[in-house]
């Protein structure tokens, strides 16, 4: 297939902007005529997938809609009912599938997400706080002047600054954002390990239809999409989840179990942290370097995502239940990796809240509990976004089967240590061998490291589709 028409696709779909500041605005649309007028104005500033030959712009703008939002825009009923069921229902109603129970259930969500009032997500990314403010002010003026949308709430996110340096880390200290899949036709500097595994051991891009509507997917079919086809083509679905991180609980848990792991020293602690996720905290894949972090591997695009698990069936290098191995099992389930090609997701996201210095929450054992609870209460986490052609087939499957269940990995009912929605008495097994440096370990009584604070399912339309919506031209016939 040839190159995609990047100018018709919202830029947020085709590339992670890699900008350090973001504001995600959640809008309620006004009456349809005014909402369309707002979209019409907004169209002029929407960032497309066109390459940045002149360098990065100061800021970007993108928009996506909930099913309620599309209804508020007065789209024809025949179009509205043609959307996938899970999108029509919205994320809250899918809680039973997603494992959004216990501390993750909607009764603990931010009020914004409990009211089911959100019509649109408007994402602004920027290189500086000033550029962010400028763009936000511009968009706000469009909303006010047209009366087409009201800002319900917004979430600010920013790359974590640690010791004065802007980083790619998240709050638990792991370097994030390594592997997103490659797709056919998407212009991007590809690297081995990011597409699908071929018989000869090389990697090829996934079918475009795993990301974008209107193209063949890995089954050679067009993904389920709304009508008319022109509304769907070059669009995708987005999942937004605000994930609070209990940093105090994480650090206390890591310290507690690291004291019983191997030599019980700092290296053992870092090694155990690496065994939780499948990467050392600097990003080095444990599979490639099980004994120590190796910046030369982590920084090398030809190696940082280029590995498989077939030679490590017992999980003695990368544990079978490690986060990265769960959500992207590569060849771990056999059949040369073919079982997972329709379960891939593209991730976007940035942390919110300030980074807690490592000294916090790591005080004397007596003070640890108090410190940990105080740290947990502070507002920090990640604004996690997923892009995929089918929320039910891709994101929901990964969340239900691979994060909150372990059967595919032969791990019974075990869940993902970090992301899982844990009930009482759950465990995490670190497989080991007979050497002193790599012992097995069973971490018991898993606490909830992450708590969902709300979110929603969105439709992220193409530029053409946005135009159709703005001009009232959506016609399912």
């Amino acid at each position: 297939m040839s190159k995609l028409n990047a100018t018709d696709i919202q830029g947020f779909v085709l590339r992670g902007y890699n900008m350090p500041f973001a504001r995600y605005c959640f809008l309620r649309l006004g009456e349809p005529k005014r909402a369309r007028a707002f979209l019409d104005r907004l169209l002029g500033v929407i960032t497309t997938g066109q390459t940045w030959d002149q360098g990065k712009p100061q800021s970007t703008v993108n928009i996506a809609f909930t099913h309620k939002g599309l209804t508020a825009l007065d789209l024809p009923i025949a179009t509205l009912i043609s959307f996938p069921v899970e999108f029509q229902q919205g994320m809250r109603a899918r809680g039973g599938i997603l494992g959004d129970t216990g501390v993750n259930s909607d009764e603990y969500w931010d009020p914004l997400w409990r009211d089911d009032d959100v019509h649109a997500w408007l994402g602004i990314h920027a290189l500086s706080p000033n550029a962010l403010h400028e763009r936000f002010t511009q968009v706000q003026a469009m909303m006010e002047e047209t009366g087409g949308a009201k800002l319900l709430d917004s979430e600010d996110a920013a790359s974590l600054v640690i010791d004065g340096k802007v980083t790619l880390k998240e709050h638990f200290g792991y370097t994030d954002g390594f592997g997103n899949p490659d797709y056919l036709g998407v212009e991007r500097s590809t690297q081995p390990g990011q597409g699908k595994l071929q018989d000869d051991g090389t990697w090829a891009p996934l079918a475009t239809g795993e990301l974008l509507l209107g193209y063949a997917d890995e089954a050679g079919e067009l993904p389920v999409a709304p009508i008319p086809a022109l509304l769907a083509a070059n669009g995708t679905f987005m999942v937004f989840r605000k994930l609070h991180q209990n940093v105090g609980t994480f650090r206390r848990f890591l310290n507690e179990w690291a004291a019983r792991y191997g030599a019980g020293d700092d290296l053992a602690r870092e090694k155990l942290a690496a065994k939780f996720i499948g990467r050392w905290r600097d990003g080095t894949p444990v599979e490639l370097s099980p004994e120590r972090p190796d910046a030369a591997i982590a920084q090398d695009p030809n190696r940082s995502t280029n590995f498989t698990y077939a030679q490590d069936a017992a999980g003695t290098r990368c544990p079978i239940g490690a986060h990265m191995r769960r959500v992207h099992p590569r060849d771990a389930f056999g059949f040369k990796g073919r079982l997972i090609n329709r379960r891939r997701i593209t991730r976007r996201g940035l942390p919110y809240g300030p980074f807690a210095a490592e000294s916090e929450g790591a005080a004397t054992p007596d003070a640890q509990t108090l410190d940990a609870e105080a740290l947990d209460r502070q507002d920090r986490g990640v604004l996690f976004m997923v892009l995929n052609a089918s929320i039910s087939r891709q994101f929901e499957f990964v969340q239900q089967q691979w994060v909150n269940y372990g059967n595919d990995a032969h791990l019974g009912n075990d869940k993902d240590l970090l992301m899982g929605s844990h009930a009482e008495g759950e465990k995490y097994v670190v497989q080991g061998d007979a050497t002193a440096d790599n012992p097995p370990l069973v971490c018991a009584n898993l606490p909830n490291f992450v708590e969902l604070r709300g979110g929603e399912y969105f439709f992220l339309p193409s530029i053409t589709a946005l135009g159709m919506m703005a001009m009232g031209l959506v016609d399912p016939r």
């Binding site: 996938p84 599938i97 389920v224 507690e256 008495g425 465990k427 069973v442 018991a444």
Partner: protein
């Protein structure tokens, strides 16, 4: 033998549903109504039936030919599909079913053509076997262990994890010999413990039926 994978038996039955235009509601709807009331957790009748790894009941109304050019075909009747992965052999399995859940079997299969009822065990066995189709695909998660062995292994796995987590008590130092002695005592308790009952715990929320998935536009 295609029906068998290691020690696990893959059973597929296709039982014609009684075609009676005077029946109101129709027999297939009566089966559907009854199946909708059956719990899917540990209270499921198949949790009481020994040797069941997994069981699924489906009412098949008709077949639809998907493809080009379209071609219209119909089944001669509606069918009840019963699929299970169970511990072989099937004579013993059907006999176990008949003993454990006779009312439920009759409630479902009495809507099927020619079903003799469980009271006449020989007739029941030959009826069920007459409806059998060859099975070539198995539930991927079923390994080569019996239901009892699987339940016992899961119980042991969880208990050992708990033992490791609590021995030695964090903050204390215990010599290896003591830990070994405690482990051997612990293993005796685990081995003597009764086998857990199959099926998800009732009320665990894991089998929420109100969530409907799998529609054509999902």
């Amino acid at each position: 033998m295609a029906n068998q994978s290691g020690s696990v038996y893959g059973l597929t039955l296709l039982c014609p549903i009684v075609k009676d235009e005077r029946a109101v509601p129709s027999h297939d709807l009566q089966i559907r109504e009854y199946l909708a009331t059956l719990p899917t957790d540990e209270r499921s009748p198949f949790a009481a039936a020994p040797g069941t790894h997994l069981a699924r009941l489906v009412v098949m109304d008709d077949v639809i030919y998907v493809g080009m050019p379209a071609c219209e075909e119909h089944l001669k009747s509606k069918y009840l599909i019963f699929e299970t992965n169970c511990d072989a052999d099937i004579d013993a399995y059907f006999t176990g079913l008949a003993k454990a859940i006779p009312e439920q079997l009759d409630a479902v299969w009495s809507h099927c053509t020619g079903y003799p009822g469980v009271r006449d065990l020989d007739a029941f066995l030959s009826y069920m076997k007459a409806c059998q189709l060859e099975t070539t695909f198995f539930f991927a998660a079923v390994n080569d262990k019996s239901v009892t062995d699987t339940l016992k292994a899961l119980q042991t796995q969880r208990a050992v994890a708990d033992f490791i987590a609590t021995h030695p008590v964090p903050g204390t130092v215990v010599d290896a010999a003591t830990t070994q002695r405690e482990f051997l005592e612990f293993m005796k308790i685990v081995e003597a413990a009764p086998t857990p009952r199959p099926g998800l715990k009732a009320g665990s929320g894991a089998s929420r039926r109100e969530i409907q998935t799998g529609g054509h536009n999902e």
